[in-house]
């Protein structure tokens, strides 16, 4: 019925509706005439009313009006005396009036019913559209990864999307209807009353909350609340969108922890550096003084008691003097080694050729009287701390001079390896005492010596100093050697085209 109505009303042409009026009145007339033929009188009126009712029911008000006019005419013609004439007499009046009144009433009722039905249908259609729309929206909300739920003003959950289910572990049917703060055991960053007051005032709130999931673990969420109002501007619901930031928070915590640790370590390091500096200062002042006294008094004793002492005693005194001198050298070398570790490097373009010449002139005392065949290649310009690099060359060259002392013809070569685009490799090669490659790792350690002191003097700090300086330039040191055939020391420094490189 509900479905055929629009069909009759909208699809069928108007002719059909009015046709129905004509046909139903004609049928009523036919039946009335037939019944009258069998001597049943006074049935015409109800039959016409029935025809009007049918027309009004199925075809609407217009056709009903037509049916009323037709019914009145037929009634007057066939059933109201004088029969078979359209003459209207006063005697007909009550019957016609009854017909018209009832017909009008029926039509009216039918029209009212219809309008109700139309409204109902409209409402139903609207409802259906809204249901479809809402279902689509809800399924869209379900698509997001965000956790979204809606709670009413008494905190009871009314909507729970799939993101919420995935994050917290409860399906919608378990979550909806529960108090959200109880279910999630929310921990607020501020008192809830303060949050609520601000939220109701502005309609929005953002902050970090701690929630407990279905499995009992805690999550940290970045929460955003939006207030929904009804038509009368009364707050009715709260849309809460949460993002799980537990992992981010954990990392932030971790980073903060690491930063604190770093700060602590650098403070420690600073303190250690200060201590080292104070230590070096104290060594410089306090260790040298007693040494000087040992040396001085031994010397004075030697001078004063020279005639009283025998050969052996003189030798003993010599030992004391030598040891004191050696210790003095050790202290000086150690101090300069520690100074290199502490000093700031001041990097500029350095002409290595010039530096080699300076180093050689510094070693003049050691080379005088020696027959050394020098082979000095042209060296490039590099980028580094001039005085430190000079110390490197002085150390390497003085080693080469020292360890070739026992060779009848000493050869020392200074050269440059294939220039890389980033760094320059310089080597110092000699044909001196050399060393066993087995001990190459010990070569650059502080106080490490591969030769006995009486064969070649030294403190064992020179190569450690070289390594420290080169490392501070971001370069590398290495050595090759064969016992009694010589040694080659290589060091690399940043190319002048690559000054940015740091250790």
């Amino acid at each position: 019925m509900a479905r055929s109505y629009p069909y009759l009303q909208h699809v069928r042409p108007v002719v059909l509706r009015y046709g129905l009026a004509v046909v139903s009145v004609a049928m009523a007339l036919l039946v009335a005439l037939l019944v009258q033929h069998y001597k049943f009188h006074e049935v015409g009126l109800p039959l016409f009313l029935f025809a009007v009712a049918v027309t009004s029911w199925y075809a609407g008000v217009g056709p009903a009006a037509l049916a009323i006019v037709f019914s009145a005419l037929c009634f007057d013609y066939f059933f109201a005396p004088p029969l078979y004439s359209l003459n209207f007499t006063l005697n007909d009046l009550p019957s016609v009036l009854i017909l018209l009144t009832f017909a009008a009433l029926i039509t009216r009722f039918s029209a009212v019913r219809r309008s109700f039905e139309d409204k109902l249908r409209q409402a139903r259609d609207d409802l259906q559209t809204e249901v479809i729309e809402r279902t689509q929206q809800a399924s869209l909300l379900n698509l997001t990864h965000d956790t979204i739920f809606v709670r009413d003003m008494s905190e009871v959950i009314t909507y729970w999307n799939r993101g919420a289910q995935e994050l917290y572990g409860w399906p919608p049917e378990q979550a909806i209807g529960k108090s959200s703060h109880d279910l999630l055991r929310t921990v607020f960053p501020l008192p809830l009353d303060d949050i609520r007051a601000k939220f109701l005032q502005t309609g929005r709130w953002e902050g970090e909350l701690k929630h407990t999931k279905a499995d009992g673990t805690q999550v940290v969420v970045a929460s955003r609340w939006a207030l929904r109002f009804d038509e009368e501007e009364r707050p009715v619901a709260i849309l809460e969108t949460n993002n799980d930031i537990t992992e981010r928070k954990r990392r932030e915590e971790e980073i903060r922890g690491l930063n604190l640790e770093l700060a602590r370590r650098s403070t420690e390091l600073e303190a250690a550096n200060k201590e080292l500096e104070a230590f070096a200062y104290s060594v410089s002042h306090d260790l040298r003084a007693p040494l000087r006294h040992m040396f001085g008094y031994a010397e004075l004793l030697q001078k004063r008691a020279s005639s009283l002492l025998d050969e052996k005693s003189h030798q003993y005194l010599m030992m004391i003097l030598e040891s004191a001198k050696r210790m003095g050298n050790l202290i000086d070398d150690l101090l300069s080694f520690s100074r290199i570790g502490r000093a700031e490097t001041q990097k500029t373009l350095v002409n290595l050729d010039q530096l080699v010449q300076e180093a050689l002139s510094e070693l003049r005392q050691e080379t005088s009287g020696r027959d050394i065949a020098w082979k000095i290649d042209t060296l490039p310009v590099c980028h580094g701390d001039r005085s430190m690099l000079r110390l490197v060359l002085v150390n390497l060259l003085s080693n080469a001079v020292k360890f070739t002392r026992k060779q009848p013809q000493a050869k020392i070569e200074i050269g440059c390896g294939d220039a890389d685009k980033d760094e320059i490799v310089v080597f110092v090669r000699d044909n001196g005492a050399g060393f066993d490659m087995k001990y190459v790792k010990k070569l650059f350690g502080v106080f490490q010596r591969l030769h006995q002191t009486d064969a070649f003097e030294g403190t064992g700090i020179g190569l450690a100093t070289v390594q420290r300086i080169i490392h501070r330039h971001g370069g590398k040191v290495r050595a090759e050697g064969v016992v009694d055939q010589g040694a080659t020391f290589y060091f690399s420094v940043p190319n002048f085209r690559n000054p940015g490189r740091q250790p």
């Binding site: 410089s284 040298r288 006294h293």
Partner: protein, 149 residues
């Protein structure tokens, strides 16, 4: 104590004092030395106060100043001397064990006239002291108002 020395030595270590005096003896300069054992005593001497109240007001020809001293340290003494109108003309030679650059820089900033690191080797030490003594006490013309002999 010789209250009229051409050299004022400020040194707390008796052994260093003895070795220094030994080195100066060779040029008969040892008698010209007044030894003070800390910074306070040195300032007392320079201002003729305390136990030096009775000394004449002549300035020494040179001051040999150690840096590491009890009570008032060498740099403080130096600062005091160089900020005093009457004293700042006295040549001051810092004679110290310290190789430390910051001591050297601080001393020169305060206006020291020479900075000498005491060598460990006694021969070098004797030579250094002797040259210092000869230069400052004999060769160099001290400023007016200094002890003259």
């Amino acid at each position: 104590m010789n209250m009229l020395g051409r050299i004022l030595m400020v040194e707390d270590d008796p052994k260093d004092v003895e070795l220094t005096l030994t080195a100066l003896e060779e040029y008969n300069l040892a008698n010209e030395v007044v030894v003070t054992r800390d910074g306070e005593e040195a300032l007392d001497y320079l201002y003729s106060r305390g136990k030096f109240k009775t000394r004449s007001s002549d300035n020494p020809a040179v001051i040999l100043l150690d840096l590491k001293l009890p009570k008032v340290d060498g740099l403080e003494v130096l600062q005091q001397i160089k900020s005093d109108e009457k004293l700042k003309i006295i040549p001051v030679v810092v004679l110290t064990s310290s190789h430390e650059e910051k001591d050297m820089v601080a001393s020169y900033k305060l206006g020291v006239n020479a900075y000498v690191v005491k060598p460990v080797d006694f021969h070098e030490f004797v030579n250094a002291i002797r040259e210092l003594g000869v230069f400052w006490a004999i060769i160099n013309q001290p400023p007016p108002g200094s002890v003259r002999k």
